[in-house]
């Protein structure tokens, strides 16, 4: 939506978006999202970070804070301020775009920030600022939702207390049919585009729409989007689990008696668990995932441990450029 500057000629419009077998141009079904891959803790300077690939989208999100806010007149006495910057790299689209904020990115930044306000426990950090930076490195339809999915994990990675994760996905209309997670041609030439962001309970925290749909279609679109967001939430949770369960593995296999730091982690995590399976790693990660607030608090501990333990640093230090070539699914080439 509002992507005038990327658009190619209308003559490129495909005759049909969905073939007789119900498959879309990139081979997906109408309710299928593009392959998504996420990784957290990718930037060492940031308090939290996430790299996401979704179809041909490549997005990097980082969180700094909570930290002191300057100038002071912007500080809020009773809560932290969230700042969200959605930014597209000049080279991220077909025709180079001028770097820096434009009207589109300012609007997206605003609504994306508001998508997180309902879940971030800002009242815990009065006077502070939580900066969220989302950089779109490669754009291929659905960048605002991709950025939100990445930012959500970056916030969790930074240990910011949240009521839950936010997941985002778009529903659109092509050939008179609703489809989940628009690809580039569907976005450019489709009849409607509805990006949404939701909490895990299905409360809608971001909603935009343009195009042409009926009330009934809108109702159906919410349901489709809910399913999509659920799927994305599972990927997000898995990503968190991957990082933090690995940390525990290393911790406990270490010399327990001499390593007071690992003991701290262990006790923290166990105390947040109801049952007494103190050695049971599976239950520990489960506990982490069940309650994001609790999760965030324990993560703080884990982060501090991470700095002292070199042995697992390499777990999450995969270079971003390395990912680019190999992880793009083959069928996505058709969508460009």
């Amino acid at each position: 939506m509002q992507t005038k500057h990327w658009r190619i000629n209308m003559s490129d419009k495909p005759e049909k978006f969905i073939d007789e077998n119900g498959l879309r141009l990139d081979g997906r079904r109408i309710n299928e999202i593009r392959p998504m891959k996420m990784e957290i803790g990718v930037l060492s300077r940031a308090d939290g970070s996430c790299y996401l690939e979704w179809g041909n989208n490549k997005v990097l999100a980082a969180v700094y804070g909570p930290r002191e806010l300057h100038p002071r007149r912007l500080q809020k006495a009773d809560s932290a301020l969230i700042r969200y910057r959605y930014n597209m790299a000049a080279f991220s689209v077909e025709d180079r775009i001028r770097p820096g904020p434009n009207r589109r990115s300012i609007e997206i930044s605003k609504v994306s920030r508001e998508a997180f306000e309902p879940v971030v426990l800002t009242h815990l950090y009065p006077g502070a600022v939580i900066d969220v930076f989302a950089e779109v490195l490669q754009a291929d339809a659905g960048t605002r939702t991709a950025a939100i999915n990445a930012a959500s994990l970056a916030l969790a990675d930074a240990g910011i207390p949240m009521k839950g994760l936010i997941s985002a996905c778009a529903v659109g209309k092509v050939d008179g049919q609703l489809v989940l997670d628009l690809n580039k041609p569907e976005d450019n030439y489709g009849d409607a585009d509805i990006p949404m962001a939701m909490t895990s309970d299905g409360e809608i925290t971001l909603l935009q729409m343009d195009g042409d749909i009926t009330q009934e279609e809108f109702k159906k679109a919410i349901e489709m989007c809910k399913d999509g967001c659920h799927e994305i939430l599972a990927i997000q949770q898995e990503t968190l689990r991957n990082k933090f369960s690995k940390l525990e593995d290393v911790e406990i296999s270490d010399d327990k008696e001499n390593n007071d730091v690992s003991a701290l982690v262990e006790s923290e995590l166990v105390s947040s668990e109801e049952d007494e399976t103190s050695e049971d790693l599976a239950s520990i990660e489960k506990g982490e995932m069940e309650d994001d607030v609790k999760d965030a608090e324990t993560e703080d501990e884990v982060e501090s441990v991470e700095e002292q333990e070199d042995s697992f640093q390499d777990v999450d230090e995969e270079d971003i450029p390395d990912d680019n070539g190999e992880d793009v699914p083959e069928d996505d080439e058709e969508t460009v």
């Binding site: 509002q2 005038k4 658009r7 190619i8 000629n9 209308m10 009207r103 589109r104 300012i106 609007e107 930044s109 605003k110 609504v111 508001e114 306000e117 309902p118 509805i194 909490t199 299905g202 409360e203 809608i204 925290t205 971001l206 909603l207 935009q208 729409m209 343009d210 195009g211 042409d212 749909i213 009926t214 009330q215 809108f218 109702k219 919410i222 809910k226």
Partner: protein
Amino acid sequence: MSNESMSILKKDYIYNLMLKGKREDGRTFDEIRNIDIRTNVIDKAEGSAWIKLGDTEILVGVKVQVGTPFPDSAGEGVIITSMELNPIASPDFEAGPPKENAIEMARVADRGIRESGAIDLSKLCITEGEEVWMVFIDIHVLNNCGNIQDAASLGAIAALLTSTVPGGREGRGEDMPMPIRDMPVAITLVDIGGEMMLDPGLDEETACDTRITIISNQDGSISGMQKSGDGALTEEQLLKAVSLACQKASELREAHLLNI
């Protein structure tokens, strides 16, 4: 949610009124303030409309000029919508380039006009790939008493309905009326303690967490939506808002736009 500051007492007051099923100005939850539209108030503009929505006042001017088309839509005219939250309109507005609020509202108003296909852009082409008519819709907020969004959208379409394309003046054939095909109407609701209220006044807009704008067309289809503000909406709230907005939009169109 807006930039205005508000005491907690006032917020409580609005919330407590809601519990009694009332609003500050005595309206019902689904009642829109009085609307007064005067068109063609600025002679220098190709089209204009002065909107009063309650005490909110907005002036929309349309200028039409010859320009070059975008390379990707060589045979179509161009729409450019901008909004200025003039410091004359509120003690909380400051002079300077548009901030995110103004940009958001201008873009939502633009979305309504653009996505509904309200203007037949192909008729605004003079020479394909070289010259087209550019339609500048400038929204000037004069007095902010809440719900600038709806007033701006209504003003934009009203001003467009009275616009002419100045072919004679520019030496590009004859004057023609603006090719209007549809009349999108934006309806905004706010969530006050779980109740959805139509056409928020300033205090309601300030007290609420969430605002939702729904733009619908003559045939009842939806051409644009935007959630704004720090809160979240449930599915039920949203669906209720959409059906209410579509119904109110058609009433409003009937009463104020069809006679222009």
